[in-house]
Structure formats: C-alpha cells, structure tokens
C-alpha cells in the first residue's frame, strides 16, 4: 500500500506507515532534527522537525507523524520557521552549544540570534568526572533523551540513568546522584555514542582537550581501572 500527498507543493508517494520525515528525506526535502536518532525511539520532543499540515491546529512533528493520503504539508512556512528559529535561540540562551556544530549550523541557516534572550538563566553544572570511561558535562546537555533511552529499552537495559528535576530544571541523573561506578552502569559507552552535544564524552578525549598529554594519560591509566563492585 502506498499513500500520495504533497509536501511543499511536490506530489510524493511513499509506503503506508512512513513518517513525514522519512518521506522528506527520500525526496530531498530538508527537515532539521535534534533529538531524532535512527537507533532510538522517536519521541518528538525537540520540535525542530515540526511542519505545517493543512487543516491541523498545531504544527506537527515530522519524525512521528505518518504521511496520510491527500495531506498538504509545508516544511518551511512562516509559522514553522518562527518556531524553529525561536527554539534555537532559546537553546543558545540555555546551554553551552560549543560542542554541537550541527546546531550551530542550523542557527546560521535560520538566522537565529544566540543573544536573543539577554539575562536568561542558563543551565550550568559542574563536569562530573567519576569513572574511567566518560565524563558528564550537563552544561552541554540539551535533553534529547537519547542517553536515557539507550541505557534502557532502546539498547542496553541497564537503567543506570534517568531524569532529575522537572521542566527547565530537568537534568539527567543517577539514583540519588550516585557516582557512575556505584550505579548499574556497565560502561558500554552507548550513551556517549549517541550524545549530540559533547555533554557525554570519552574520558581520554576530554583529558586531551584539557591539555593533558597522551603520555600523562597513560600514566593516569584511567582506561584500565576496574569498576568497583558495590
């Protein structure tokens, strides 16, 4: 079964059940995404992929909405562009995007002003360096949820991390803020692999960036430290 609909005036036919995002990508139409990742369940939470569907009251996340017969979709309407630009500007006023080149590129593309929101309270936290494998710098976390998802049912079933707080004060955390070696973490590294902003980073990469030389790192021997049994 296939469905035919229009996207930006172009008639598109896709398999039944395909999302608007998949349809767009197959047809060379660019829809930006932040939280979406091929290995994790789509949650439609960053809302960068929103598009305007004729007859629908609100903008729709292309990553989860399936193409429907006769749908009329606009991927760059005025509303869509305002939402994407404002989301990017709010991100820039919230977190450290210095390790997120893809998002900085999006900001250029949408003409987003990084200093649009003066006097904004930023989410700042200390770097957590508590295990030999990776560091956690939540000042760079944009809450895409990927790490929590791969730690749970999307991949590893370890459930070492979850959320702390609520709303703007949400952060990723462990049980009562325990250091990683005291959690169920198996140091599989999948969370580091899916982090889009450098909030999770291999320990060695972090040390090199801090100016520690490879020789000094070898002396630290961080990579071979055994995980403490709890």
């Amino acid at each position: 079964m296939t469905v035919t609909f229009t996207m930006d005036g172009k008639e598109i036919t896709v398999e039944d059940g395909q999302t608007l995002l998949e349809a767009a990508r197959e047809n060379g139409i660019d829809i930006p995404t932040i939280c979406w990742h091929e290995a994790t369940t789509a949650n439609g939470l960053c809302r960068m992929c929103v598009v305007e569907v004729e007859g629908w009251r609100t903008l729709q996340p292309a990553c989860v909405v399936q193409a429907g017969a006769g749908m009329k979709v606009q991927t760059r309407s005025e509303k869509v562009v305002r939402a994407r630009k404002t989301i990017l500007e709010m991100l820039a006023s919230t977190m450290d995007l210095s390790d997120a080149p893809d998002i900085l590129t999006m900001m250029d593309e949408y003409g987003a002003d990084a200093s649009r929101f003066p006097d904004a309270v930023r989410r700042v936290s200390e770097v957590k360096d508590d295990n030999p494998m990776y560091i956690r710098d939540y000042s760079k976390c944009l809450l895409c949820w990927r790490c929590v998802q791969v730690c749970a049912d999307d991949a590893q079933y370890t459930y070492a991390i979850n959320f702390e707080g609520r709303g703007y004060e949400t952060q990723i955390g462990t049980f009562f803020d325990k250091p990683i070696p005291e959690t169920t973490c198996v140091l599989c590294g999948q969370c580091v692999g899916v982090c889009p902003t450098g909030a999770l980073k291999p320990k060695r990469q972090y040390l090199l960036e801090q100016g520690v030389s490879p020789e000094e790192i070898s002396v630290l021997n961080t990579g071979r430290k055994k995980r403490k049994n709890v």
């Binding site: 932040i34 960053c46 809302r47 944009l142 707080g165 609520r166 709303g167 949400t170 169920t184």
Partner: protein
C-alpha cells in the same frame, strides 16, 4: 531460628507489590507517611519490592512536587501563591509564616519539625488566601490573616450558588450519603438498555467534556466501546489543577455518588471492568469521602461485581491533568504526556482502550440517562445544552461555584455573584484558567456558551471566571501566571520546557518595570512558538493568557510604560 519482623516500610508497601511499577506512586506516598520524605534506603527497598530500576524510582520522586528526596518534615505548611490567592496577600502570609519560624520558603527546620513551602493553586480559590497543612494533629497556625486552612481532616466549606441546581442539587450541605442520594436510577435505566443505546443517548444529549477540551463525550465512549483490546478502563480525571478551578472538589466532597454512578454507566457502555479516580494530591481530605462512598456502592452491589474503582492520588503535578500524562502517572512513571495519536480510546492506560472523563462530565451522565437526552436539552442552547458550573473567584462579593444554564451572560453571572467587590469597577476577567484568556467590560454581554465564547475569542476551559478590579496591577497577575507554567512544565518538549522559563523571565522584568527594548517581540515569539509547536495542551496554552493580555493592553509590555495603577 527466628523470623525477622518485616520493616514498617515493607508492611506499608506490601499491598502495592502485586501492582508492580503501577504501585510506585502509592508506595512512595506510603513511605512519606512514615518518614516525611523518601530516604535513599526507602527508595531502594521500594525499587526492589516493585521491581523498578533504582534510577527510575529516583526520577519519579524528582518529578512530583509532593515527593521529597531531601530531609523534609512530616509537618508541612503550604501557602498557595497562585493568582487568586496572590490577590489576597498570599506572599505576605508566606513571608510572615516563614519569619515567625525562622525559615525561608521551601526550607525545613534542622530538627525536621516543620517545612514551609509556597504552593501552586490548591483549588481553594473561593476561599483565598488558602493554606494546606499536612502531618500535624493540631494546627499551629490557624487564623493567620484570615487564611483558609485545610488538612487531611479539615475540609473546606462549600459555597454553591446559581440559578439552577441540577448538578449541584446535593451540594452545599456536607457529604451526601448513599441513603440520601438514593438508588443509582441512571445506572438502573442504563442496564435496561443496550450499551449502544446508552452511548446513543449520551451522544444525543450533546454533552461535551467539562475539563477544558470540550470533546463530545458520546463520541469518546463510542470509540472505546468499538476499540479492540481488553481489559478496558474508565478513568475519572479528578486532577483538578487549573488555577482558578475548584468545582470538581465541591462535586466530589458533597456528592461523591454522582460521579461514581457516572463512572458505572460509562463502564457499562464501553464494557470496562476497572476504573480509576485519579485525584490530585492536594485534595487529601476528599480521599476518605470517596473511599467511604465506594464502600457504600460496593455494599449496594453497584460496584465489586463486574466493575470496580480504585482511587489513585497524584503528587503535585499540573501536567497529570493531561490525559496521557495521567496514564503514565497511574503506570508509575514521570508524568510525561504522550504523543497523540494513538488516542486514549484505543491506547489509554496500560495501552488499553480507555475512556477518561472529567468529574463534572461524569456527574452530568446519570441525569442524562435517567431523564433522557431530550429533557437534558431543555436547558441551555442548541449547541451548548444543559447547565455548567462556573468557578467564580477574585474581586467579587460572593465567590463560589455557580451553576447556570448555558446562555446566561457574563454580566448576569457577575450580578449573581454580587458584582465587583466593594463597588469598584471591573478591569478584567480571566476566563478558562491560567491556560485561558482575559476578557474586559466589553465582553460583559457575551453569552456563556461554547459557541458565543469561541466567537469572542474566549475559552470556556474548565469554567474559571476570575475577576480583577480596576486597582489590580495586571503585570503582577501575569507574573504569577508565568511562574505557574514555568513550575509546571514537565520538561519534555523544547518549546514549553524553555519557553515557559523565558516567558517567566520576561514577565518578571515587566512586573518590576525593567522592560528591555524588544521584550514585546521576544514574548510574542516565545508565546507563539509554545502555542504552535508544543507537544501537549500545557505548552500549547501556556502563553494563551499572556498573548491575550498583549492584545488588550499592549502598553504594559513596552519600555517606559507604567501601569494604570502606578499612574494613579
């Protein structure tokens, strides 16, 4: 060999162990009853007993405002600082209480004897200013500046008025027992009909949801009745948390059997075996009233055979009034709203077909079935049949729940309430709650119906009519709304998570008279982005009242402008 006694915590959580993860909120409530908060060891014991990952248990404690993972007293005084109470010097009450006990808001004494906190709307707006005290046998603070105090054992009085008394026939004189309520005549008649006939009657009545979204009730029931999958569920959404809303509190306290009968009829119509009443944690004094009524209904054979109802108590999260977040909460998770579709009628709680209705909606059902849709439609208008409860609060002479037929005007409603307090002039009315919009004296002759309000650009929402007199600084009202949404955003989708915070920051500046150039445009972009792009109804309406105020009083948001009040 002696067998170790089970710990007091284990004994307390034992009934919830068979529920698995779904027992998490009840178990955390039980732990807090023992300790006042959830210590790490208790969280670990609960995690093990319910087989929930440790990090997930912690994530749930962190999500809900009424759960604590830091040492907190069993004796907590919470002062409502939301809109209606803010008009009555709630901030002053909080400050004085704190000063008297040497605490800052949100702080606990070193000996864990007392915690004092500001609180979002307690649903006591007609009694503003309101204070909720838990865990103390004897109140320590009664009479503080005329504040209304409630506790587990101290319920608020009901103030019920209006030109008709149908839904509220049993309200205003304490709790109605089953003996006084009489037999479930609507249920009896429903059972003599086929489920399809019951649904057809509800559809014919034109009843739409009273929680705010106004979805046709019969259509919802039909969807769940036809959906594949079992078991099916009926849920009463009693998470009444929209600032300015308190009608469901009155209905449940004074007439619990009406809502239970409504649920029984819904269950029969869709073929549900299990029901939940999800009641907000801030209404603890209603829980024993409902428990008692459920027992009476079981004794009379209305419940306990093919359908029964369980009460679930929330823990301080406005978002859990959103239906899918409420399901997550029943399932023992953080109250994150789900993406729709799929809709609850096919994929509700535990992924099963579910009907979820507001308290007032369910209370309307018994009469529709007992007397017939035609009789019900005699009141109200063609498109808005029946009567409606309005929650009138703020600067009026007589605050309370008002039952009126759809079609009375705002002016008539305000006259019933004795007009603006102390003979002052009307400045504004907040319609539909924090997620609503402002009206002015220009709207006084708008008829209170879905169709007329929609045409006037005003939401009926949950029936909030909050009145502000001419002396009120609306910038302070907006500041209070901004703080509410920033506190209550769940943090899932970016527009709302960051937008409610940016909105709060800008509204704070405006209230302090420190407006920056371009704040108007910033506020508008944030507001429209939340409205257009947020995942759920919370974010989509978090800027609704602010955007309406920007249209009505653009001068308030511009640099160099002072409020009308300041100029006087």
């Amino acid at each position: 060999m002696t067998v170790a006694e089970p710990s007091p915590l284990y004994t307390a959580i034992e009934p919830y162990i068979p529920l698995g993860r779904s027992g998490l909120l009840p178990a955390l409530h039980a732990a807090q009853k023992i300790y006042g908060w959830v210590p790490e060891s208790a969280a670990a014991e609960i995690a093990k007993a319910l087989r929930v990952p440790l990090a997930d248990v912690h994530g749930v404690i962190e999500f809900y405002s009424l759960f604590y993972d830091m040492p907190t007293s069993k004796h907590v005084i919470r002062v409502c600082t939301d809109v209606a109470c803010a008009l009555k010097d709630a901030d002053g009450i909080l400050d004085r209480l704190c000063a008297r006990h040497g605490l800052h808001p949100g702080q606990t004494t070193d000996d864990l004897s007392l915690t004092i906190e500001p609180s979002p709307c307690l649903g006591l707006c007609e009694h503003a200013p309101a204070v909720w005290e838990t865990g103390s046998e004897q109140t320590t603070v009664i009479g503080e500046d005329g504040a209304t105090f409630v506790s587990e054992n101290r319920r608020p009085p009901s103030r019920v008025y209006g030109s008709v008394r149908i839904l509220t026939a049993n309200c205003g004189n304490g709790t109605t027992s089953l003996a006084k309520y009489g037999e479930y005549a609507g249920l009896k008649k429903a059972k003599a009909m086929t489920p399809e006939q019951v649904i057809a009657e509800v559809k014919a009545s034109g009843l739409v949801g009273r929680g705010g979204a106004a979805f046709p009730t019969g259509v919802k029931w039909e969807g769940a009745a036809k959906a594949e999958g079992s078991p099916k569920y009926v849920i009463c959404n009693a998470d009444e948390s929209e600032p300015g809303t308190f009608k469901d509190r009155v209905l449940m306290l004074d007439d619990p059997h009406r809502v239970i009968e409504g649920m029984c009829i819904a269950a029969y119509a869709i073929g549900a075996a299990k029901g939940y009443i999800y009641i907000r944690g801030e209404y603890p004094y209603i829980v024993p009233v409902l428990e008692n009524a459920l027992n009476e209904a079981r004794g009379a054979g209305y419940l306990g055979n093919d359908f029964d109802i369980e009460i679930r108590v929330g823990a301080g999260a406005y978002i859990c009034g959103e239906e899918t977040a409420l399901f997550e909460s029943i399932e023992g998770k953080r109250g994150f709203p789900r993406i729709k579709p799929p809709f609850p009628t096919t994929h509700g709680v535990f992924g099963k077909p579910t009907v979820i209705n507001n308290v007032e909606t369910l209370c309307t059902v018994p009469m529709i079935i007992a007397q017939g849709a035609a009789e019900y439609r005699k009141l109200g208008t063609e498109k808005s049949p029946g009567s409606k409860l309005f929650c009138v609060s703020g600067d009026v002479e007589r605050t309370g729940v008002y039952e009126v037929p759809f079609g009375v005007t705002l002016r008539e409603l305000l006259e019933m309430a004795g007009g603006v307090k102390d003979g002052k002039q009307l400045q504004a009315v907040l319609f539909g709650g924090a997620a609503g919009a402002f009206a002015t004296s220009e709207h006084l002759d708008v008829k209170l119906t879905f169709e007329d309000l929609r045409a006037a650009g005003l939401p009926l929402g949950s029936g909030v009519v909050m009145v502000f007199d001419e002396t009120r600084d609306m910038r302070r009202v907006l500041k209070s709304l901004g703080h509410f949404f920033a506190h209550e955003s769940c943090g899932k989708c970016y527009p709302c998570q960051m937008g409610t915070q940016r909105q709060k920051e800008i509204l704070d500046r405006i209230a302090e008279g420190k407006v920056l150039a371009d704040d108007f445009a910033r506020l508008q972009d944030v507001g429209w982005t939340m409205t257009d792009a947020s995942l759920c109804g919370l974010g989509q309406t978090a800027a609704s009242a602010v955007l309406s105020a920007m249209k009505l009083w653009p001068g308030l948001f511009v640099e160099g402008q002072t409020s009308k009040v300041e100029r006087q």
